[in-house]
């Protein structure tokens, strides 16, 4: 029984990480009408930047997290401005240009991966943060790194919620996600808002990378698997829905963890995909019933 609970706890904390990346993908989808294929690489880049900040300046972990989020967010804004903006100008969504965007993102993923490889090399690097003693609740011992992940993810998610609901910029982001033309008419600076959306999404991806660093190693190929899992999480929760993305992430994390524990660890990365296909077959709109936005 305690084995089961352990697996669920591991699954939940990893699920939080998937949820963070999935929120990023959902945000970009709502703002730019495209699925960002290079988001897994942003996550990887965030982890490496966090590691670099940690090793160079020796900051405490929360500051490392913050620094990595800011730097990666800015990198994201630059990528969006330089590469994605011209393509999106010729029409986004599911047109032929939408296909161009998918292909462009796919190419960009491998460019970023190769850049990280050239800078940091092919080895898996440890992220030597010490979180202190495991926490004991009743007869359960929780490694404090997992508690950290869940706490930090919750803080970030509530910050995002407050940003979207309470600030004027957040209101602009939601307006742009709703309808760009009307947002323009309301006097919102739509291009700037899209950049902000993209930057925030990239910052969340980076945060996920930094959070997962101490429990897994940081390596160049870590981005691809998370992209598929986060995408599965976003679809399972209903694409474009932020709470759905978090719940989807938790579900993917738990299923994966239980599958690895009880079935076979070798096929660990396949479970999320099977879950995705099953959900798509039964409820294509996701578990929370929000119909996917399809552009006519």
């Amino acid at each position: 029984m305690s084995y089961f609970i352990d697996l669920v706890i591991v699954g939940l904390s990893l699920g939080m990480v998937y949820g963070l990346v999935a929120i990023g993908i959902s945000l970009i989808y709502s703002g730019l009408d495209v699925v960002h294929f290079a988001h897994g690489e942003i996550y990887m880049l965030g982890a490496f930047i966090g590691l670099w900040v940690f090793n160079t300046f020796g900051l405490p972990f929360p500051l490392v997290l913050l620094a990595s989020m800011i730097i990666t967010g800015l990198i994201g804004v630059v990528i969006e401005r330089v590469f994605y903006r011209p393509i999106l100008k010729s029409g986004g969504g599911y047109t032929v240009a939408g296909m161009a965007m998918v292909i462009c993102g796919f190419g960009m993923a491998f460019v970023l991966q190769n850049i990280a490889f050239l800078i940091w090399g092919p080895r898996s690097l440890p992220f030597p943060v010490t979180f202190g003693m495991p926490i004991e609740i009743g007869n359960l011992t929780l490694p404090s790194s997992y508690v950290w992940i869940v706490a930090a993810a919750l803080v970030l998610m509530s910050a995002l919620h407050l940003f979207l609901k309470k600030t004027r910029l957040g209101l602009a982001v939601r307006a742009v996600a709703g309808n760009k033309d009307i947002a323009y008419l309301m006097g919102i600076n739509v291009p700037l808002t899209i950049s902000v959306t993209f930057g925030v999404a990239c910052a969340l991806g980076a945060a996920a990378g930094v959070l997962v660093g101490p429990i897994n190693y940081v390596h160049v190929l870590m981005g691809l698997g998370i992209l598929i899992k986060a995408f599965a999480a976003a679809v399972i929760g209903g694409f474009g829905s932020l709470p759905g993305a978090v719940l989807g992430g938790l579900l993917v994390g738990v299923v994966e963890s239980l599958g690895a524990g009880y079935l076979s660890g070798n096929y660990k990365d396949i479970y999320a995909f099977i879950l995705l296909i099953v959900v798509l077959m039964i409820r294509p709109a996701g578990l929370f019933g929000i119909l996917a936005k399809v552009k006519a």
Partner: protein
């Protein structure tokens, strides 16, 4: 000959010229076969012959990917998994069950076609980027499954896949293997022109432009989407099987990583999506460049990825688009000249 690459079959420039163009096309094909037949004898060494085989296999792959991506407009990035399925089916049948190549190849094509139909299933429900990510997940799942399954050689791969033999003659040199690959590649290219000009091809194009309007015009969307995936899977299975049986007869799960998919995608994007000749040129160029830059493999993905991004940004129609524009301009000038002469 190049005029075939345009979406419509080339209309005869002047009336009554149709038999002439038909003969010209036939002559072009015959000349092409002639050149292709003597090509390996002109190659300097065996490595170049190996490269020729590789180019032709990649041409088969690129032409196949063009059917699902270019004709039918379904965004798939999991094509490499279909090739892996073809290669592994063929290899397992040949090494574990003793099938000869001539039986293993069709069996592999059949199995891959079936897999293609399965890949096509999510395309009923998913569009655009959704479909791309679903196929990406499928491709990764296939690779992980292969590299973790002991029966399929796990991370060691499968060795000693027998080369094809004909009347007791083992076709284990790259020169003899060329004459196995070349007719298949040629047939593949010809077949894809046939598809493009048939009802099926027109249905694919309608599907690409607007699935809703296509359905309203009486096209069975699900049927044609599946058909597109199955057809491209046939090509992928054939290419996979050919790659597996080529000397030294060794396949490894790492040959079917997503990085290879970038290379494959680059061939089609650079050539121009939906353009058959463009895809072929793309396959030739990318294979040669890939081989020449083997020493700089650390930078390969960086450059290839960047070329994909920049092609999408600045040359969305690829090489094929440039060819088309050249032909159209030439035809336009010829027409104007004819008109001027008449006046």
């Amino acid at each position: 000959m190049t005029a075939h690459g345009t979406d419509e079959a080339a209309p005869a420039a002047t009336t009554g010229a149709k038999p002439v163009t038909a003969t010209r096309h036939l002559l072009a094909w015959v000349a092409g076969i002639g050149v292709l037949s003597v090509l390996p004898w002109l190659a300097v060494n065996d490595y170049h012959r190996f490269l020729l085989d590789l180019i032709l296999i990649n041409v088969i792959l690129a032409v196949g990917l063009n059917i699902v991506k270019g004709f039918a407009g379904q965004v798939t990035v999991g094509h490499i998994a279909l090739m892996a399925i073809g290669a592994y089916t063929s290899a397992i049948l040949a090494t574990k069950f003793g099938f000869p190549f001539w039986l293993a190849l069709p069996s592999a094509v059949l199995v891959t076609a079936l897999a293609g139909a399965i890949v096509g299933i999510p395309s009923f429900r998913l569009e655009g980027a959704y479909l791309a990510l679903a196929t990406l997940g499928l491709a990764e799942s296939v690779r992980i499954f292969i590299s973790a399954n002991d029966y399929l050689g796990a991370s060691i791969g499968i060795t000693d896949i027998p080369p094809p033999s004909l009347f007791g003659l083992r076709l284990d040199t790259h020169l003899s293997y060329y004459y196995v690959v070349m007719p298949l590649a040629l047939a593949g290219v010809y077949f894809s022109f046939c598809i493009l000009r048939s009802n099926t091809g027109r249905a694919f194009k309608a599907l690409r432009e607007d699935p809703l309007a296509a359905a309203a015009a009486g096209i069975n969307v699900q049927k044609y989407k599946t058909l597109a995936f199955v057809l491209s899977a046939v090509y992928a299975g054939c290419a996979g099987s050919l790659a597996a049986h080529m000397t030294p007869g060794f396949i490894h799960p790492n040959s079917y990583m997503l990085a290879e998919m970038v290379t494959l995608l680059l061939m089609v994007i650079l050539g121009g999506i939906g353009h058959i000749w463009g895809g072929i040129i793309g396959a030739i160029v990318v294979t040669i460049v890939y081989d020449l830059t083997r020493d700089y493999y650390n930078y390969q993905m960086l450059v290839f990825g960047m070329v994909i991004v920049l092609t999408v940004m600045y040359m969305p129609t690829g090489i094929g688009g440039i060819i088309d524009r050249y032909i159209v301009t030439r035809r336009f000038v010829a027409l104007r000249k004819a008109k001027g002469d008449a006046a």
